[in-house]
Symmetry: C2
Amino acid sequence: MVSTARVVVIGGGFGGLNAAKGLKRGPAEVMVIDRTNHHLFQPLLYQVAAAVLAPGDIAVPIREILAKQRNATTIMAEVVAIEKEAKQVVLANGDRVSYDYLVVAPGARHAYFGHDEWEACAPGIKTLEDALRIRERLLISFEKAERCDSISEAEKYLNFVIIGGGPTGVEIAGAIAEIAQLTMIQNFRRINPERTKVYLVEGCEEILPPYPKRQGKYAREALEELGVEVLTNTMVTHIDRTGVTFKGGKLIPSRNIIWAAGNQASPLLKTLGIELDRAGRVKVQPDLTIAGYPEIFVIGDGAYLEDKKGKPLPGIAPTAIQQGKYVAKVIRKKIAPDKRKPFRYFDKGMMATIGQNKAVAVLGKFGLNGYLAWLAWCLIHIAYLIGFRNRILVLINWCFEYFTGSRGSRLIDRGLSDDH
Amino acid sequence: MVSTARVVVIGGGFGGLNAAKGLKRGPAEVMVIDRTNHHLFQPLLYQVAAAVLAPGDIAVPIREILAKQRNATTIMAEVVAIEKEAKQVVLANGDRVSYDYLVVAPGARHAYFGHDEWEACAPGIKTLEDALRIRERLLISFEKAERCDSISEAEKYLNFVIIGGGPTGVEIAGAIAEIAQLTMIQNFRRINPERTKVYLVEGCEEILPPYPKRQGKYAREALEELGVEVLTNTMVTHIDRTGVTFKGGKLIPSRNIIWAAGNQASPLLKTLGIELDRAGRVKVQPDLTIAGYPEIFVIGDGAYLEDKKGKPLPGIAPTAIQQGKYVAKVIRKKIAPDKRKPFRYFDKGMMATIGQNKAVAVLGKFGLNGYLAWLAWCLIHIAYLIGFRNRILVLINWCFEYFTGSRGSRLIDRGLSDDH
């Protein structure tokens, strides 16, 4: 056994970063490989899409975070394959990197349930690029509507359809409803931004399916107060440039469709050559490794694990953070496979905002709705942001929006794209 | 004569915006047409390219600035032609807009002196998109250099060549030299960011040609202290993906070439059907109109005018601002062509920073170098920024950089572009 373990971490998200940081004082050489140069605070990404925050407010270069950790190297590269027998990962340019331990934390993308062609018209929000694309469409839509000669022509630009009534869908629906009412008001002459119509579409019978029904109902009422039309029990059958078609044939004309309806784990996991679940995730062992390979850990959105009651762990930041820390401890202490205690998820609860002043939160059996939940949401998200500078900037942007209604990041920086 | 004049303003830069704002209380219907949705504070654009500031810090939606001016409408569109006989402007989609007065303030792009093919390898800094492209290349270069196997291979990524020793060239050279020494230090493991080599190339015998020689010399020494190699009397003969070739045959291998060497006024001016100067500018009448058309004003970087001593007015923000205000007054008061007093430029001086703590400033015959000039530069730029929020954000970002060396906008948001 080598005294200094070579640890390769794929992905600089919550899971990967916490695994790397947890190895700071261990006898390890850590290499973090990410396709981008930044760690992204995904819980606030929808606010970049809604022009509240700037990309830099919620993203920090990974190598800046790890600057003082002398045993960590950061590489910006794409991993295309994992060769578990050779104990190597293969990069897009053909380079190979050997490891003693491998932490696989590549995250997830959207799943379109066999309709990948929908993605062009209905992008999801996972990366900064996604969020900037949605922001651009959103802002250009108002610009285009202002130039339309008739109201019916403007309609397709002022209809927003969000597909998926989970926490992401609820948060983005609230944020878009508010941009029209708080931010855009007075800015236009021909159109009335209040004509904006936001639809939130959910297949189940209530929104926020992982939350207690009571909270789903509260969220629905809060959204309706903001003018959002919540369509539950509603199935999407087709999406194209005209709009969204539902089961039964109804069409909502829209150029602004956002997908928040399902995840698919990173395709990199397929190269592990093991069985994956329907969402492309690895069913990990209790120590988060894959069967027969105690040196390969899979964590975060790419891992499937159930808690003691048989309930799957939620795909949220606390899960990934705790898993990253657990893996770092196992590697740091070189715990033999048969001596590892199973990973235990400590439930810190879930929360989602609905516009300003309102949120739903749930912790075990305890639920909280309204202003207090919203305040808690704000504080927790500021506290978990990495970097003092980012905390200040987010706080300032929030205050400005709260007190003046103006959003700081209403930038269309790529010019008028005519394919919109 | 109509009682309410229809005023069309092309361009929402310093000139156009001040013309529009100056008409707030006049009997006018103002329409501002811009290709983008934002007014850009161009004097700080190089700091976006250098990852100090975020795009949103120095850009504000034009319709937000004019929100409370009820007689102003903002349209995001591209003007492709001016038909001065029909008194109409033609938009890219074929729409026509009629005017009683026209204010043409479309700005300038770079001039490559007949070598437009150089632009792909040597972009300039005029728009947010330009700045983001340069920032991406800059940051990716460090990432790529970190992955190179040999120092000679890494060289082309760590060589930066800035062509043009005017104020823009000097400012960007200083900012790039500092990114390596202040910001990137400690962030990399294999490369030493201090190996970064910045070249500033100027055809004249001293940099900062519009400034007194003494100040050019000061700027050169200050840049050399930062490790910048200043090459004066140096002519570029060729630019491609390998690097920059100079007269005499010397080649500097570089993937990071920035063009700051010359301007060409907007091609829109050609559609006026009048004679333009070598830089594509309109030689305007003393009242900033074009001969024979007292209702068409050309202002800002697209206008050529000399002061009383026969010196051309500088292409800087104060010129455009003063011209915009002058035009608004003429239109507001409906001053007849023969009663208009000639436009008088009030010289507020020029200034340029050289990294932190140093700047050169000149006001008439009075020159100021060093720390005080730098402090004045900071204060003036903060004061002229539009929007309280933007002032706060720029101030915070500057303070963070000043005291910690960290730059807030080190984001590569479009993924690894392999054509770099």
